[in-house]
């Protein structure tokens, strides 16, 4: 569809979506429970030497410390940083409290992680007219019950809601009204678009695409030529066309386990041994999730923090820890790391759709 003159988004693309994002969730929970940490730069996860930051308090963020940053780097940037061991059990229970609040308003809640969720409130249980008011109420309720602050974004689809929730963070909210969506997207830097990562952003900039308005000038065929299938997505999203179904039971796409080592691994023997341990952990998770998958991915982070992944797709779905481990080991041997490794991980993806309607199963000879 090509819009000229007055642009508008077709009504079937307009929902009332709220994206709720807890502010520095893990760090805030720790500061709540340990008053001596309040007002101080806190990092949850890792230590001075090893690991990665799972969450950083706002005080720490001023120093450029953010989640997924290697702890050693974080420490260099902020020597007074206090490292706290994560207590996921606790975060999970707080997350449950928050989810219970969401569910009072709508059953269409799609959790993205412990501290983030999409809510579709187009129809809500309390009959509140505007999503903006619902968001405000939810944030107030969260604060009353958990003494934690949340930010929210409200708009017509998931992507817009997510962009909006970043706007007045922390402890704020922003609504992008349907008629504001297209002008907003025109001014949005390309790197903020959903599905545009670092690499894609670089490529787009090389092509002269810096803002939504630049992207909009490209026709779909050209975008597909440059970006493959994603081209269609970019074409649509800048036009506000995202059918964002809020899925209460988010389908798992992969199951993984990884480990950062307290000392870098230098030899292949050490790495293979470590893989066995990671494989066991992964096997437990696979069993717990009753999952099976086809693609095994090996993740390697080298001492220089470069991360590489290698995958192999098997012929048939598997849940066998041995098979998965064998594939991971093979990937490791084939891509013999030429430097010391600080992190190893194995992921099983391409998961078998759980009990999809009447799926047939090819039987295998019993060798």
């Amino acid at each position: 569809m090509y819009f000229c003159g007055v642009q508008q988004i077709p009504p079937e693309y307009i929902r009332k979506i709220i994206h709720v994002d807890m502010d520095a969730f893990y760090a805030s929970v720790e500061q709540r429970d340990h008053p001596e940490l309040r007002g101080k730069p806190v990092a949850v996860g890792g230590s001075k030497e090893r690991g990665v930051v799972a969450a950083a308090s706002y005080e720490a963020r001023k120093f450029g410390v953010h989640s997924a940053l290697a702890s050693a780097i974080a420490y260099r940037q902020c020597p007074q940083l206090i490292f706290i061991k994560p207590d996921f059990e606790k975060y999970r229970s707080v997350s449950k409290q928050i989810r219970a609040i969401f569910l009072e308003y709508t059953s269409l809640v799609e959790p993205l992680s412990l501290d983030e969720a999409y809510l579709d409130v187009t129809e809500n249980k309390k009959g509140i007219a505007t999503a903006t008011r619902i968001a405000r109420q939810i944030r107030e309720r969260i604060f009353e019950e958990t003494q934690l602050t949340a930010s929210a974004g409200i708009s017509i689809n998931k992507f817009m809601a997510k962009v909006a929730s970043d706007y007045h963070k922390p402890n704020g909210q922003k609504t992008i009204m349907p008629e504001e969506v297209l002008p907003f997207l025109e001014e949005l830097p390309i790197g903020k678009f959903f599905g545009v990562g670092k690499k894609t952003a670089e490529k787009m900039k090389k092509l002269g695409i810096h803002y939504g308005r630049d992207l909009k000038k490209w026709d779909q065929a050209l975008l597909v030529r440059e970006f493959g299938k994603s081209g269609v997505h970019y074409y649509n999203i800048v036009r506000g066309l995202q059918k964002s179904e809020v899925k209460p039971n988010r389908i798992r796409k992969s199951i993984g386990a990884e480990r950062t080592f307290s000392q870098n691994l230098n030899s292949q023997t050490e790495m293979l041994e470590a893989l066995t341990g990671i494989g066991q952990k992964l096997a437990e998770r696979i069993t717990a999730a009753k999952a099976s998958g086809k693609t095994v991915t090996l993740k390697l982070k080298y001492e220089n923090f470069e991360t590489h992944t290698r995958s192999q797709t098997l012929n048939a779905y598997t849940q066998s820890s041995q098979e998965i481990l064998a594939a991971a080991q093979k990937l490791l041997l084939e891509n013999g790391p030429n430097q010391a490794v600080r992190l190893l991980g194995i992921t099983l993806s391409n998961l078998k759709p759980a009990q999809s309607k009447a799926k047939s199963v090819q039987l295998t000879l019993d060798f």
């Binding site: 064998a326 594939a327 093979k330 309607k357 009447a358 799926k359 199963v361 039987l363 000879l365 060798f367």
Partner: protein
């Protein structure tokens, strides 16, 4: 080193030997043909380290020499020449081979032949001899059923099983299995080894025109096939082949006899409408009727056909991957086949009902696709 040879004769041998060339070799020397000249006998070889093929041909020469010549360039150069005598002269000083035709001269840089990997010495060798034609048939009948799962390398090859009673060739990917047996052929030695896919693919195409006997020499790690002017040496797949006899069901009370061509075309037509991931077709047998159907629920596609057959047994329904059925039925030569079954969750066995040579025994087995409700 100097020799004169017919361009066509040389090209023919190079194309056979070139079957082993890889497009991306880790070792640069493997992008070359090794030319080993000893008087009137020129031997040319190519290798990928796993498999090495040599062919000898007669040339006009009284010279000796050993050089490695870039394979791709030489093949392309020769292909572009009409049949004629060409003269090859290797000049040690300039390090080039000059090829002269009626039209002019072409130079290629060569590499010292010593750098070419040596063939492994084979010790404790046993030998079995088999007519080329029979070996070609055995490979053709089995190779398609071999797997390509890197995690189960033994199943990526064909299992050779030699005994005093017969020679047996087996391939399986754990979903289907083919056993090709010759009761008219024997070996003085009992032996078992697993041949990888690549050398078999080369043998299959090369052997088709061979009337001669093939001498197969083998030990624990390698096998060497010698026939006419060709020697193919390869490393064997290391490992234990699955106990295939144990999975061939013995009691199969339900037997359908049907015209192979009719059955095959029906499966092909119906399969077009099957689910694109499972390729499942259903066979429903009742009386002397076979119903073949397929369904793709996701797209509401459906097909159903009815054939007549001879059927003995209880009424039953069984699902198969149509691709497997098509591959297997295509690979048989008989007019009529028997499909023997016991239950919808057990293997079906396809046997040719005619056109077998004396001493020839073909058995194909296919595991069903089950509806998981």
């Amino acid at each position: 080193m100097k020799f004169i040879v017919s361009s066509g004769a040389l090209l023919k041998q190079l194309q056979i030997v070139g079957g082993v060339l890889n497009t991306n070799n880790t070792l640069a020397i493997l992008d070359n043909f090794l030319f080993d000249l000893k008087g009137k006998t020129l031997s040319i070889s190519a290798s990928d380290l796993e498999t090495t093929i040599s062919a000898t041909l007669e040339v006009d020469s009284s010279d000796e020499g050993l050089v490695a010549i870039p394979a791709r360039l030489l093949l392309d150069g020769l292909k572009a020449l009409p049949e004629q005598p060409v003269t090859f002269v290797a000049d040690e000083k300039s390090g080039t081979v000059e090829m002269s035709s009626d039209y002019g001269k072409y130079s290629l840089a060569f590499v010292e032949g010593d750098e070419f990997p040596k063939l492994p010495e084979m010790e404790d060798v046993s030998t079995t001899t088999i007519p080329g034609e029979i070996l070609a048939t055995a490979v053709t009948k089995t190779l398609f059923a071999a797997g390509n799962d890197e995690l189960r390398p033994v199943m990526s090859g064909v299992f050779f099983q030699f005994s005093a009673d017969n020679l047996t060739f087996v391939a399986t990917d754990a979903h289907k299995l083919v056993r090709y047996r010759r009761n008219d052929q024997h070996s003085d030695h009992t032996a078992e080894f697993i041949m990888p896919r690549k050398p078999l693919t080369i043998l299959k195409s090369t052997l088709a025109s061979v009337g001669d006997e093939v001498n197969i020499h083998y030990n624990e790690t390698n096998a060497r096939f010698e026939f006419e002017n060709i020697i193919l040496t390869c490393r064997l797949i290391d490992g234990k082949y699955p106990n295939y006899e144990a999975v061939i069901p013995k009691e199969n009370p339900n037997v359908m006899e049907i015209d192979r061509g009719t059955f095959l075309s029906s499966v092909k037509r119906v399969a077009i409408f099957s689910n694109k991931t499972t390729h499942q077709v259903r066979l429903k047998l009742a009386g002397s009727e076979l119903h073949i159907s397929a369904e793709d629920i996701d797209f509401s596609n459906k097909a159903h056909e009815r054939l007549t057959c001879n059927y003995e047994g209880d009424d039953m329904e069984i699902g198969f991957n149509s691709r497997f059925l098509v591959e297997m039925l295509n690979n048989l030569d008989s007019d009529v086949i028997n499909l023997e079954m016991s239950a919808s969750n057990r293997a079906g066995i396809i046997l040719p009902a005619d056109s077998l040579e004396d001493g020839e025994d073909v058995l194909m087995l296919v595991m069903p696709v089950m509806l998981n409700s």
